[in-house]
């Protein structure tokens, strides 16, 4: 009996000597987020948007521009600290022409119109770094582009595919 009471006291004493730890969360508001850019084109996520031109025989080569579908959403944003203002530049690489087996057609035959005009209307120039648009921080700019194939002449029958790469850079 005495032995049991002594053990109990010893246990209580031992527990009282150990500090109890409390579960807690720490929150920190970072008022100096790192500079960054955001670029979204097409459906967003990891999917690559595709614009298709499906041309009827009677329309081919008439010189009347043909619309591609769908229209493409473009969203760009940049962020930098107010004390270190920076400018982001949007460029596009259209230097690799569309290909259909041995036949090619340049991206210069494709132009676009901007629905809002925030990211201007234009035409691919076939270069590797065509300037499109620039803007200072911190902004988010949205637009929707509708693409047209010039359709000024005939080219070999078949399906031509190609890819352009937009780059948003903030030095």
């Amino acid at each position: 009996m005495f032995h049991s009471r002594s053990l109990c006291l010893l246990l209580i004493t031992a527990l009282s000597c150990c500090p109890l730890t409390a579960q807690a969360a720490k929150f920190k508001v970072n008022n100096k987020p790192p500079p960054g850019v955001m670029l979204s084109i097409g459906p967003g996520g990891a999917r690559i948007g595709e614009v298709a031109f499906k041309i009827k025989s009677r329309d081919l080569g008439t010189g009347v521009p043909l619309r591609g579908k769908p229209d493409i959403n473009i969203r760009v944003a940049n962020r930098a600290t107010p004390g270190n203002s920076r400018v982001a530049v949007l460029t596009v690489d259209s230097s690799v022409p569309l290909r259909n087996g041995p036949y090619i057609t340049p991206f210069t035959s494709i132009s676009w119109t901007a629905k809002k005009g925030n990211i201007p209307s234009g035409r691919y120039d076939g270069s590797s770094s065509q300037f499109l648009f620039s803007f200072s921080n911190s902004q988010e700019v949205r637009d929707k582009h509708r693409f047209y194939y010039d359709n000024t002449g005939i080219i070999e029958v078949g399906t031509y595919t190609g890819r352009v790469t937009y780059t948003l850079t903030m030095p």
Partner: protein, 199 residues
């Protein structure tokens, strides 16, 4: 027990992600960093070009031209070529516009007058070999010889054909045929049909 290896890996990953410049490939991306930050996004294009063959002889649209010859009694059968009348063909004087446009390989132009004749309805005939055709651009868009089995092949560039020319019809006038009106508007063998075909 702490895993020093795991901590080392996390530290390495963080140091890579913060290294400048940043370069990210995706279609909706955010890139951050102390130095130059760059984000790439791509768009694919697809142009579906159908096979096409357009062929025109004479007036545009659905009109069919009439080529009229009216040799005089004085020059009939002399062998001197006779030009068509002023109102013949879409350009007049026996001249017709010819265009061929295709993206489907080598085009061949044929006609259906091989061995055919123009008749006067009473048993007299004139063979189509009496009607000559000259092309303003024989090298690239020649005219087949009427009344024979000839055909022509317009110039092909790559897999494309895009040629135009003027074909001029004349009457060869080699013999003094019986008087009368031979052929006509789709009567008495007076019509020739040209056909352009791709492989």
């Amino acid at each position: 027990m702490k895993n020093p290896c795991k901590h080392a890996l996390i530290a390495a990953a963080l140091s890579v992600s913060l290294a400048a410049p940043q370069l990210v490939h995706a279609e909706s991306v955010t890139a951050t960093g102390a130095g130059t930050v760059t984000a790439d996004a791509r768009v694919d294009f697809r142009i579906i070009i159908p096979g096409v063959l357009r062929f025109r002889v004479g007036a545009a649209g659905g009109g069919i031209d009439l080529i009229d010859f009216a040799p005089t009694a004085a020059n009939l059968g002399t062998g001197t070529d006779v030009a068509a009348t002023a109102g013949s063909g879409d350009q007049g004087n026996g001249d017709v516009t010819v265009e061929v446009l295709s993206n489907s390989g080598q085009i061949t132009i044929t006609h259906d007058s091989n061995g055919s004749v123009l008749s006067d309805g009473t048993g007299n005939t004139i063979p189509y070999t009496e009607i000559l055709t000259a092309s303003s651009d024989a090298a690239n868009l020649d005219a087949p010889v009427l009344g024979t089995a000839s055909s022509t092949t317009p110039t092909l560039t790559g897999n494309l054909t895009d040629e135009s020319a003027t074909w001029t019809y004349t009457y060869d006038n080699t013999l003094a045929y019986n008087s009368g009106i031979y052929g006509g508007v789709n009567t008495n063998g007076g019509r020739v049909t040209y056909t352009a075909s791709s492989p």
